[in-house]
């Protein structure tokens, strides 16, 4: 069923949404850790009916020649065709790439993972942290759920054992945790008509005019922004959206 855009805007103006929430209200979120034994760290985030997993694999490799004293970080996202009739197999869609890159930037720019800490032997061997997001069920707001899932998976990560510069998978994981220094939380604020709201369902997501993803850290500083959607935003709107995002980030951080 496609819900009429005007109906969504009218209701939102009266403080109503199709599922009974307020404009400024997130669905219930649940964070679970260590959901797969195959990864070095993992998580499952359930946001209403939206379910995403994140898993961390640690690899050792030669550092890039221009950064011999730094390890690597990469975030990937797969919008599995299992999770929505609208997702297809094949190369990543634009939306999958955007989800991965926005979450990646939040983690990278906040220095949540200190890449200088990931050096095994300077100039020779470093850790690469690879985080993969996969969607199980898309009931809207994949991006915000993914950002929480990635942080949870990183927090859950323990380093594998190195034997002569190669990972010894048989030995299992060590007790050494991957240090996570910040908790950058991405919150996307959506605009439909003149209304601002958060945490859309599938129906709402299809009808929006614009969105702004704001990633913020504990002290309220911002570490990444991403504007999406076909309509522009006024500076006043951006001001309001950032305040809304920071408020929700504070509360989501408590769920980690």
């Amino acid at each position: 069923m496609i819900i009429d855009k005007k109906k969504i805007i009218d209701m939102m103006g009266k403080g109503l949404r199709l599922d009974g929430r307020k404009a400024d209200e997130f669905r219930k979120i649940k964070v679970e850790y260590g959901i797969t034994k195959s990864a070095e760290g993992s998580s499952r985030v359930t946001l209403g009916d939206t379910v995403v997993l994140a898993g961390v694999k640690m690899e050792v490799a030669k550092p890039y020649p221009d950064t011999p004293d730094q390890g690597g970080l990469m975030v990937g996202a797969e919008l599995l065709p299992m999770s929505s009739p609208e997702f297809e197999s094949g190369p990543p869609s634009d939306w999958a790439v955007e989800v991965a890159r926005v979450v990646d930037r939040g983690v990278r720019e906040s220095h949540a993972i200190d890449v200088k800490n990931l050096v095994v032997k300077k100039g020779e061997l470093v850790w690469n942290v690879i985080v993969d997001i996969v969607t199980i069920n898309d009931a809207g707001n994949i991006l915000d759920a993914s950002a929480v899932a990635v942080l949870a998976a990183l927090k859950d990560t323990k380093l594998p054992k190195l034997e002569k510069d190669i990972i010894d998978y048989k030995a299992g994981l060590t007790k050494e945790k991957l240090p996570v220094k910040e908790l950058p939380i991405a919150v996307t604020v959506y605009k439909i008509g003149k209304e601002l709201f958060v945490d859309p369902t599938n129906d709402e997501e299809k009808q929006i005019d614009a969105r702004l993803t704001v990633t913020s850290i504990e002290d309220g500083s911002l570490c990444s922004l991403q504007k999406g959607g076909e309509s522009p935003l006024s500076v006043e709107e951006i001001d309001k959206m950032i305040d809304i995002a920071i408020k929700h980030a504070k509360s989501l951080r408590k769920d980690l």
Binding site: S42, M82, P85, P92
Partner: protein
């Protein structure tokens, strides 16, 4: 030399602990989760729905497509590169062929039923877990089926025939080596709808292994049925 004790202490004909549930992916038309030891399969069914490109359509009946995929962090060891490979293509095909005998798509010409199978974690036996899981998801989707399909990997480790090999057992080093035989059984007829084998075996050992697969599949069939009954609240009376 003889294989006296299994690497994880199980009896030779014993599977790892199993868990099953259906209706786990809300947006899908049918779905299931099946876990055997640390091998965990999720299956989601979409369809019957329109098939594009149109040249793939069959005007006589609907077609079944099975997509097998390991999540990037689900491998035993290194990260699995996303996007599939030769192995996942082949497995999608043999899994589809194992399910086709029990599914009737005659009422859906030109349509497709897609089955997506995903693994958050693996420890050998994935194609059999996929078949067992996909059969439940197809039933959950309400498609017309003449039976279930229940699958298990059996095999030979040194001189013993065993059920449900895990990764360490597949890699067990012994004089006579290890043979892996994934088998899917249609419970009501005992027919075999998936059969592959890697390794050396005598004909006698193969038939011993098939007998074992039949026995184990009966137990899996009960697990599948009770998962489906649980969702649809059919009392056991």
């Amino acid at each position: 030399m003889s294989y006296k004790k299994r690497v994880d202490g199980r009896k030779f004909d014993e599977t790892r602990p199993v868990e099953a549930e259906v209706g786990v992916v809300k947006r899908a038309d049918g779905s299931a989760r099946f876990k055997i030891g640390q091998t965990e399969a999720w299956a989601a069914v979409y369809g019957p729905r329109e098939l594009v490109p149109r040249f793939m359509q069959n005007p006589q009946k609907g077609i079944l497509r099975v997509h097998y995929n390991m999540m990037p962090f689900s491998g035993h060891g290194n990260r699995v590169r996303p996007g599939g490979n030769r192995r996942s293509k082949e497995l999608g095909m043999v899994i589809r062929d194992s399910l086709l005998p029990v599914i009737n798509l005659n009422d859906f010409p030109n349509a497709v039923v897609d089955v997506f199978i995903e693994f958050p974690q693996t420890d050998a036996g994935t194609r059999c877990a996929a078949v067992t899981c996909a059969a439940m998801a197809l039933a959950d989707a309400g498609l017309l089926m003449s039976d279930m399909v229940s699958a298990i990997a059996v095999g030979r480790v040194d001189d013993k025939i065993v059920a449900d090999l895990n990764y360490d057992e597949e890699a067990f080093e012994c004089d006579a080596g290890v043979t892996d035989i994934p088998v899917a059984i249609i419970p009501s007829t005992g027919e075999v709808s998936l059969l592959q084998m890697d390794g050396i075996t005598t004909k006698k050992q193969l038939f011993e292994a098939l007998e074992l697969a039949k026995d184990v599949s009966k137990k899996l069939y009960e697990v599948q049925k009770s998962a489906l009954k649980k969702k649809y609240k059919v009392s056991e009376a």
